[in-house]
Each structure stands twice: as C-alpha cells, then as structure tokens.
C-alpha cells in the first residue's frame, strides 16, 4: 500500500492515564476519502484515539502519523489540516453565530475577508443563515451541532473528525446532519466518526472499526461484518423451553441467544429458512427481521452495561 493512499496510520498506538490503559496498542490505517467509523461502548477508547489524532492528548507509546507527519513533531501542521467537531458543545457563548466562526477562523490565521466569505458559505450550507446574529444560548441542540460542524470546516480541512455528531438530537435534526455529512463525503473530505448508534454507522461509514477495552476487536465494511457475524436474517420468538429445544435441534449450527424473555436466532443459511420453520412450528411472538450492525455489535461487545 503506497503512502498516498492512506492519510492516517497508527502503529502500536497506546495511551495511558496513570495506570489506566485507555488505548491498548492498536494498529489502523485511514484511507484517503473514506468515511471510517470508530464504534464501541462507553470507555472503549474511541474519543481518546480521536484526541490523539488531532494532537490533543500526547500518545504514551507507539507511532501515529497524519499525512506522513508525526503527531509529536508537527502538531501545528496537522491541526491546520484537520477539522474537529467535539462531543461536548464548546462554542463560545459570548458570541453570536457569525462571530463564533470569525473568531475561530482567526485562530487559523485566515484573513478577515476570506474568513467572512467562508463563514457565509458555511451558514448557507448548514442552513443557519437566519441565525447569523443570534447568541449561542438561543440555538436549539441541532443548530448548535450544525454550527460546530460549520466551525470544524472553516479551515477547509482534509480530514474531519466527528465525535458522536448526533448524540442528543431529535430524528429530524439527526437526518439533516446525516445529509450534510454525506454531501461532505462526496466533496472528498476524509471523515472519521465515533458513534454508538449502529444505524448511524451503517448509514454513513464505508468501513467501521469496533473497539472494546482499548483494543480494536473487529474491522470491516458494515455489510461485511453483518454477513460474517450474524448472517442475513434474525428470528425472534418469545422464550419457551420447548421452542428453544426445537430451535436448537433445527438450527444446530446457528447462533442462539436468550435476551430477557426473547430468543434470538442468527443463521448463515439463505433467506426463507425461518419462514419455513414458522410454517411448521408457529411460535408465539415470532418476528423475522434483517440482521443489522447492532446485532454484530452486541454479539462482539456483550450486553453488559458499561460505566
């Protein structure tokens, strides 16, 4: 793989906070123009990894390069080519919408006229033109999120880091943000996003890395991972010992999981096996649905609550 094809490369990347190992010797590459998702439960190390990429946390050991530059040597150059939309809202509450963008542009040495031009473009793209002179406190959660995205783009970054871009948004605002991320992807920006919404990852990412306890435990395309780990269809029925026995006999090679009072059956067999089964053995509360990334995620990281 030639160096021009990947933008970010991590080798044995490790981050410790005291004795706690937040990121445990991970290796990954991010390719130019892709949208790559870091998935994982709370505390998996996603945000810490992102914060090392934009030179916020210094790494404990290993090597991390962005566009061939070492994060420890060239933080200013790297930060200049990255746009960051953090998880927490850190917009400047003392300023209006447009002033937030202008002050942020100044941090990047963007001349005033150019900054104003870009700010106007961003407001238009993110449909915030009407809010130009509004103080941050008066924006809705969705508008704040979009303004954070606009701010992350003010330096025309090659790489965009989105840390949980839609957490806490209502479905309308969420879909609007997704549309905007998709059109940014089309424009050629390389996007890294962290999320624990599996539908979001399946919707936006070309490739996902699943993290747990500081390690990358699986990677691949969303469809590829679903096929590999949970197959095409999932059968769910109400729990019943007799039904469970029958299922175990019928689908001896399939994955069976009992979740509270439901039985989940995953199989690699082609479409239709579950429908045929239900015709012979009508079961209470039976549903057949397409397997999804959430099934993969729960299978790999378990159902134990985190934090």
């Amino acid at each position: 793989m030639s160096s021009s094809e990947f933008l970010i490369e991590a080798q044995s990347l490790t981050k410790k906070f005291g004795d706690f190992v937040a990121v445990d010797s991970i290796d990954f590459r991010i390719y130019r123009g892709e949208c790559c998702g870091f998935l994982g439960p709370n505390g998996a190390g996603k945000t810490t990894t992102v914060k090392m990429i934009h030179c916020f946390w210094p790494l404990t050991s290993g090597k991390l390069t962005v566009a061939g530059l070492d994060v420890l040597d060239k933080p200013r150059e790297i930060k200049n080519m990255i746009g960051v939309a953090p998880q927490e809202n850190n917009l400047d509450p003392d300023f209006t919408v447009i002033h937030n963008l202008r002050v942020y542009a100044r941090y990047f040495d963007i001349p005033k006229a150019e900054a104003l031009k870009r700010a106007e473009e961003m407001l238009k793209f993110f449909q915030l033109e009407d809010k130009r002179n509004v103080i941050i406190d008066q924006l809705s959660g969705g508008m704040k999120r979009r303004l954070i995205l606009a701010r992350a783009l003010i330096n025309k970054p090659q790489i965009l880091l989105l840390d949980e871009p839609t957490t806490g948004l209502d479905p309308q605002a969420r879909h609007l943000v997704w549309d905007e991320i998709r059109s940014l992807k089309k424009s050629g920006v390389t996007i890294i996003l962290t999320t624990h919404y599996m539908d979001e990852a399946a919707e936006l990412c070309d490739r996902v890395l699943i993290m747990d306890n500081g390690k990358i435990i699986e990677e691949g395309t969303p469809e590829g991972l679903v096929k590999k780990h949970v197959g095409e269809e999932v059968l769910e029925v109400d729990y019943d010992e007799k039904v469970l026995k029958t299922l175990q006999e019928k689908f001896s090679d399939a994955g069976l999981e009992v979740v509270s009072d439901r039985i989940h059956v995953f199989t690699n067999k082609p479409h239709g096996v579950f429908a045929a089964f239900l015709e012979d053995f009508p079961s209470k509360g039976a549903t057949i649905r397409a397997a999804n990334l959430e099934d993969v995620f729960l299978k790999l990281t378990g159902r134990r609550l985190r934090e």
Partner: protein
Amino acid sequence: MNLSSRVASNFKLPKLTYRVWKVWRRNVDVFLKTYKVNFFPPLLEPILYLIAFGYGLGSSIGSIQNYAQFIAPGLVAISIMYGSFFECTYSSFVRMYYQKTFDAIITTPINVEEVIAGELLWGATRSLINSALVLAIVALFGLITSPLFLLVPLVAFLAGLMFSSIAMCFTAIAPNIDFFNYPSFLFITPMFLLSGTFFPITTLPSQVQIAAQAVLPLTHVVALMRGFILGSIESYLLLSFVWIIAVTAVFFVLSINLMKKRLIK
C-alpha cells in the same frame, strides 16, 4: 521522577509565538461586547472609597485633603490587583471548565502554552484598563500632584501580569470554582488591608512590616503608585520594581506549566 526534575518540570520555558495575541484578541472581543458592565463598576468603587474614607474618615483623623491623597494611589493599586486576579481566577476558570473555550482553541494551530499566555496578558490588560479608570477619578478629585503619574499604566500592566500569573497558579490547582474563596480571603483581603493602602505600613509592628514586604505583592505596587502619583521618588522604589519583575517572571512560567499539566494528560 525525582524531586528536582519534578520541580524543574514546573519551570520549563514555554515556546510562545504571535498566536498568543489571538487568544488575547478573543477576550478583547468579549470585553467590548459587554463594555457597559465592564466599565461602570470599576468607576463607582473608587468614588465610594474616596468619599467614605478620604472625606468621611479623613475628616475625623486630620487634614481631609491629605488623607484622600494618601489613599488615592492605594485605590489605583487595588484596582490593578482586582482587575487581573479576578480575571485569571473566576473568569479563566469559567472559560476553562464550564465553557471549554481552551479545549476549542487548542484544537486549532494554537498550543496550550499560548492559550495561557494570552489569558495572562489579557488579565494584565484588565488591570491596565481598570487602573486607568480609577486614575481618571483620582485626577477629577484633584489628587494627582506629579507628572510622573503618566508612568502608572506601564507599571499597571506589569503588576497586572504579576497578579494574573499568581492567580493562574490557583486556577491550575482549583478543584472547583468555590476554591477561589481561599485565595480571595486569605491572600487578597490581607493585601487590601495591610499593604500600605489605607495607612503607612511603617505603623505596623516591624515583623508584620517585613512580612508584608516579603510576601504581599501589593505592598510594592502601592509604593510605586504613591511614588508616581504624588511624586515622592525614593531609592527603595527601585527595589520594589525589581521585586515585581522577578516575581512576575517566576509565576508567569510556573502558571503556564501548571496549567499545561492540568489540561494535557
């Protein structure tokens, strides 16, 4: 890490560039947006003090004009101390902890050392602005007797940088915003009262006098203010000036290192 290298790590010289001024400019922008609340309180306070102490208390202890004249430079010095100390404790803490403003700036090509240096310079600027306002009031009351008062803004900025740097050290170790009650009551209030502001420190017992000169920075600021505003230049003022420069240099570097350790892990 052994003790000496741990101490040395707190005094590493920061690498600063012109980007410091971008942080300073951000704070100037906020200040100008809210100038009405920023200008009037600092104006009102010295007027009240001059009336209450200068004219009220002063008339019962001797010559009115003399006592008002005595406390006027003290009021200028106090405004220097308050301006930067409260800016770099409460206000910086709000920007760091609640607003995450520092985190947002560090994401750009500006580094954490430059953010803190910008905050310190802004604190010094607040001292300059506040003391200029108080100086104008003092002038209106006719209490300036020397053209050397023109040097006051220069000293105000330097002394402001000193108080900013000391304040930022408290911010670096503050677990929460209520923590600032400690330095406010145990450090700022004693200085307010015992630094030669309302009575000459020579009237204090000699041990207290020595302590005031050794550990209360305001003592030296008051001495310089009195020298410049009333035109009583004495050789010990040079010592006060050197004391301020030395303390400023030490705490400027220390506060940046302490803040860096707090923010970057």
